[in-house]
């Protein structure tokens, strides 16, 4: 069981294996599907989740995002969302 601690940019996080993340055409949105539940994600949330659960550290994912969107630093925004996602059990820290 993982510790309930603050996420660090050096952490590698992954999607909870019981959650399915995908694009849903009729909703024109990315969705998370899990036991008896659905979450619709907005574009920013989906982009963060996609970039930061690909097997690399949060810092690397955030840097890729910043480059893609031409923004200076998204670290604070990304960490804030990932903390929420972590608290809700959508993602977990990869050991």
């Amino acid at each position: 069981m993982e510790a309930d601690r603050q996420l660090q940019t050096t952490d590698v996080v992954e999607l909870n294996p019981n959650f399915h993340f995908r694009w849903e055409e009729p909703q024109q949105a990315n969705v998370l599907l899990y036991p008896e539940g659905i979450v619709k994600l907005n574009e920013t949330a989906a982009a963060i989740l996609e970039a930061c659960t690909g097997g690399q550290s949060i810092a690397v994912g955030v840097a890729e995002l910043a480059e893609r969107y031409g923004k200076a630093d998204l670290t604070a925004d990304a960490l804030k969302f990932l903390e929420v996602a972590h608290a809700k059990g959508w993602i977990r820290i990869k050991s």
């Binding site: 909703q27 008896e36 659905i38 809700k88």
Partner: protein, 383 residues
């Protein structure tokens, strides 16, 4: 079924995100709170495998995402694996809602192979004899064995406990059982009073004090267990003064198909008299959802009367539950009597007062529970 635990919007753009297939009303259990119609035996013409597959394809085209296979007991359909495979290939997230009777390791493996994502297993007690008394069949040992098998096959799992005054005192013991089984989710589903549960309401309704104790035990366990076990606690709405936002609104995100193909905005809605619910045997699912009079009857707020019409919360709770309004006030367009603003709230208060005066012990009852059984009138008349 839709949980609001995520705290995020369930706005499905007017599409039926949730599709629930009641594959059969048949069930080996006799739970006296069953949500199936009390005359379930009148509906025998179940959809065929091909008809269910047609529903699955049409539902996906309509935008359905979450799919529940339920009943009755869905394991009684020997085409379940075939239907799960079809649903999985169409892109649904597939949930099986079962008593566990009819499940074994072979079928679990076949279901896993077919693409089933999750199993919700019901459990009623942590004690074999007590469980038998509640559901009319000796099944607890099998349920516990099958729960372990479900986890061994790698499924995420919801343990669902239908709560009445007969098991509410076991909250802590049931949490311990869930933690021992290693399930991800435990749902304390306080009964909602429709159909069989309504017949037995006077005996089943817990008291306010029992409810408070149970909720306190849940909160203590949440603090103790953290992410290891997510516990949902569905309150019996009678003890609220705001009505539940039932189904997120009529015809908003939820579509149920009954065993005979009747399309319903919720699993209970066919109890409302005077609405002609369309069947997938006669109509396209797209027309049923978007255009049928039944699904449009309580959409929006133009159907509302006072006090809902001018209420500031009408977009939050949609006036509560149409079925409950019908059952308790005789008119499905009335405000849900649970609402403190309803002129009929006294009906609920009287029921709560009766529960307070009645015993709370799980071993005593003033009148026997009416178990879910086919009425054997013909046989007794012949005697």
């Amino acid at each position: 079924m839709p949980k609001d635990g995520s705290g995020l919007s369930l706005d499905g753009l007017g599409l039926p995100l949730w599709l629930v297939l009641e594959l059969t009303y048949k069930c080996p259990l006799k739970c006296p709170w069953c949500s199936n119609p009390v005359d379930f035996d009148q509906y025998r013409n179940e959809l065929s495998t091909e008809e269910w597959k047609k529903v699955l394809r049409a539902g996906r085209r309509l935008g359905s995402l979450q799919l529940g296979f339920t009943g009755g007991e869905p394991m009684l359909r020997n085409d379940l694996e075939e239907l799960v495979a079809e649903a999985d290939s169409l892109g649904y997230y597939t949930n099986l809602i079962t008593s566990g009777v009819g499940l074994n390791t072979d079928r679990l493996r076949a279901l896993k192979k077919a693409g089933l994502k999750q199993v919700q297993l019901s459990i009623q007690s942590n004690d074999r004899r007590h469980s038998q008394k509640l559901v009319g069949v000796d099944v607890l040992d099998h349920k516990i064995g099958i729960a372990r098998a479900i986890k061994a096959e790698g499924f995420p799992m919801v343990l669902n406990v239908p709560i009445s005054r007969f098991n509410i005192e076991r909250t802590e013991a049931l949490i311990d059982l869930a933690a021992d089984l290693g399930v991800e989710y435990l749902e304390f589903a306080n009964l909602q009073y429709y159909n069989w549960a309504l017949l037995n309401r006077a005996e089943l309704l817990p008291t306010r004090e029992q409810l408070a104790k149970s909720e306190a035990a849940v909160n203590a366990a949440r603090a103790r267990l953290g992410k290891k076990l997510t516990i949902f606690f569905v309150v019996p709405d009678y003890y609220d003064d705001r009505p539940k936002a039932c189904m997120n609104g009529w015809g908003a995100v939820h579509l149920t198909i009954a065993p005979d193909g009747t399309a319903l905005p919720c699993q209970e809605a066919r109890l409302i008299k005077g609405i002609d619910f369309p069947s997938v045997r006669d109509h396209e699912l797209d027309w049923i959802w978007h255009h049928s009079p039944a699904f449009n009857k309580f959409r929006g707020d133009s159907w509302m009367a006072e006090p809902c019409r001018s209420c500031s919360e009408k977009e939050k709770d949609f006036g509560g539950c149409r079925c409950q309004a019908f059952l308790l006030t005789g008119d499905a367009a009335n405000t849900d009597p649970v609402c403190a603003k309803s002129p009929n709230r006294h009906l609920i208060d009287n029921l709560i007062a009766s529960a307070e005066q009645r015993g709370v012990s799980e071993t005593s009852s003033d009148s026997p529970l009416k178990m879910r059984e086919i009425k054997r009138r013909q046989r007794s008349e012949a005697r």
